[in-house]
Symmetry: C2
Subunit: 321 residues, 2 copies
C-alpha cells in the first residue's frame, strides 16, 4: 500500500512570543512519519500557521500533545490581534495530497476531534468537508462572535459542538477541525501599470462575474515591481487547472495589447497541480508525456511554460518529504 500523505495546517493564537511557540510546536517536530515544514508567526495577526506534511495517522498523538501545551500556554482572555479567532488552537484542517481521499481526511478530523475533546475537555466544531450540518461548512460562520461571544453562542442548540462539552473552555475557547481540498494561491504578472486592465481580466475569469467556477480573482498593483497582477485563489485545481487560467488570462490580455510576463505560486501546491499543466503543454507540442517525470523535470517544464518566477522544487508539497 502506498503511504497516505496529507497536509495539516494548525493555526494557533500566538504570533509574538517565539519561545512559547517553540514550546507548543516542539511535539510536532523531529517525527519519522511526517514533517513540520514551517512555523510562520505573524505579529499583527498575533497568530502562527504551522504546516505539517506526511502520514495523518502518525500526526494524531503528537497533535494531542500540541493541543495540551497550547492549553497550558495560551489564555485567550489576554489575546488581541487583527485576525478573527475563537480558540487557542483556532483551526486544524486536513488536506489530501496523495493516496488519500477527502473522505479519509474527514475521518482523521473526527478522530482528532474525539481525542482532543475527551482528553482535554475542549469543545470541537467539525467544519468544511467534515461539517455535519450546512451552517458549519464555512469557518467564518462558526467563528462569528469570536472568543468573546462563544460563551453564549455555544449554548444555542444550533451551536452544540460536535465533540466535547456544550460550554466554552474559559481560557482556551473552542477549535474547528475539518477537511478541505488544497487551494492554490496563484498570481499572473502583466506588463502594464494599469490596474483597470488587471481588473477586467480578473472579472473575465472569476466565478463571481460568471467566469470559472473555482476561481476567486482580483487586481493588484505591485509597488516594488511596478506592474499589475491578476491575483487569485484556485479552489479546485482539478476542475480549473493552472494552465487553463494562465492561457485564458493571456488571451484576454491581448485585447489590451498587454503581455503575461510571468506568474507565481504563493505558498505550496500539490505536485499534481503542476504535472497536469505540464502535460497540457507537452501534448500541445506533441511530445509524448513520460509518466516517470522527476520533480526537477516537472519544475523545469512548469517554469518554462507557465513562466513561473521565484519557483523551486520545494514549492511542491511532495518535495518536502
Amino acid at each position: 500500500m502506498m503511504n497516505q500523505i496529507v497536509q495539516c495546517v494548525p493555526n494557533i493564537s500566538e504570533g509574538r512570543d517565539l519561545k512559547k511557540i517553540e514550546y507548543i510546536t516542539e511535539p510536532l517536530k523531529n517525527q519519522d512519519r511526517f514533517k513540520c515544514i514551517s512555523v510562520e508567526p505573524d505579529k499583527d495577526y498575533h497568530r502562527s500557521v504551522i504546516t505539517l506534511i506526511g502520514d495523518p495517522q502518525a500526526m494524531l498523538v503528537p497533535l494531542l500533545e500540541f493541543f495540551r501545551r497550547t492549553l497550558e500556554s495560551i489564555d485567550m482572555n489576554n489575546h488581541k490581534g487583527e485576525h478573527a479567532r475563537m480558540g487557542a488552537v483556532d483551526v486544524v484542517p486536513f488536506i489530501p495530497i496523495s493516496n488519500v481521499t477527502i473522505e479519509a481526511c474527514v475521518d482523521y478530523a473526527k478522530q482528532l476531534g474525539q481525542l482532543v475533546s475527551s482528553s482535554l475537555n475542549i469543545p470541537i466544531f467539525l467544519y468544511a468537508k467534515a461539517a455535519q450540518m450546512p451552517s458549519r461548512i464555512n469557518l467564518p460562520e462558526i467563528r462569528k462572535g469570536e472568543f468573546e461571544g462563544m460563551g453564549d453562542k455555544i449554548k444555542d442548540p444550533d451551536w452544540k459542538p460536535d465533540f466535547g462539552p456544550q460550554e466554552m473552555h474559559k481560557t482556551f475557547g473552542v477549535t474547528a477541525i475539518g477537511a478541505r481540498i488544497p487551494l492554490i494561491a496563484y498570481n499572473i504578472d502583466l506588463n502594464t501599470t494599469d490596474e483597470k486592465v488587471a481588473n477586467s481580466i480578473a472579472k473575465a475569469i472569476r466565478q463571481s462575474n460568471g467566469g470559472f467556477q473555482y476561481i476567486q480573482a482580483g487586481p493588484v498593483f505591485l509597488d516594488q515591481r511596478n506592474h499589475v497582477q491578476v491575483t487569485m485563489n484556485i479552489l479546485d485545481f482539478k476542475k480549473n487547472p493552472i494552465y487553463r487560467i494562465f492561457e485564458t488570462v493571456r488571451m484576454e490580455a491581448k485585447r489590451y495589447q498587454v503581455e503575461v510576463t510571468g506568474s507565481e505560486i504563493v505558498g505550496l501546491l500539490p505536485k499534481d497541480a503542476l504535472l497536469d499543466s505540464v502535460k497540457y503543454y507537452l501534448n500541445v507540442e506533441e511530445i509524448p508525456y513520460d509518466k516517470k517525470m522527476s520533480m526537477s523535470q516537472i519544475t523545469q517544464l512548469a517554469v518554462k511554460y507557465l513562466k513561473l518566477r521565484d519557483f523551486d522544487e520545494l514549492k511542491m508539497i511532495e518535495a518536502n518529504l
Copy 2:
C-alpha cells in the same frame, strides 16, 4: 427616445396543419412596428415556433387576436407530439434586444397575461424573470404534468395561476408568459471524429463541471459532415462572450492535436453579441475600433475571426428590422 426592440417567441401546439397555422399567425403579420420574421412548424414536435421582432407595445393587441384564433382552432384533447406542452399557446417569452430592460420585458409579459386572461378566461403563469415565486422560474417545473395533468395541478394552492381562473381551460389548457435574456445556440467544429475529445473540451468550459458559469455544453458527432462539435448554449453572452469560449475551446483542443475548423450560430443572435467579439479581435490586432461599424462589416469580421459557417447578416436580430 430610441425605439424599444424586443424579440417575442410564441410557441403553439400545432405543427402539421399549415392552413391552421397560417390562420392563427395572420394577425401577427404585415404590422408596421414589428415583424414576424419566421414561423417554423415541426411535425414531430407537433408545434410551431413564431419569432416576432420589434416594438413590444405594438405586439400586445395582435397577440390577443393570435390567442383568440388559437383558442378557436386548437383542441388540446386531440394533441400528441414529442415536445412537452400544457397549452394551445404553450409559452410566450419576451426577450430584450435593444433600448429595453429586462424589467420592461417583465412588465410587457404581465400586460399580455392580464389582457389574455381577462378577455379569454385562460389561466396564465408568469415564468423566468417574470416569475412571482421561485417554483415558477423554470418552465419545465410549471409544465410538469403537461396538459393532461394540469386540471388537477392548478387546483393546488401552490399552482394558482398568476392571472385568470384557477381552473384549466378544457380545450386550450394554460399558457406561460415571461421574460428572459437572449441565449445563443453556438457550436464549434473540431477536425476529429473522436467524440471523447469534444466531451473533454465541453467539460472544460461548461458550468456543470466547474467551467464558465453561463455555458451549457456537450459533444455531438455530425454524421453528414463526419466530424464532432462542441455544441452549447450561451445563457449570458455579456458574461461569457463568444470569443472567450471560442478561444478557450481552441486552447483546449491543442492538447489533443485537434483544430477548430469552424463554428456556427443556430437561430438568431443580438448584434451586440457579435460586435463584442469582433471588438476583441480588432483590439488584439491593434486596429482602432470604429463605433459606426455596419452590419455587413460586423458580419465579415465575425466570419473571419470566429470562422463562422452558414452565416449571413440576417442571423443578427437587428438586421431583420
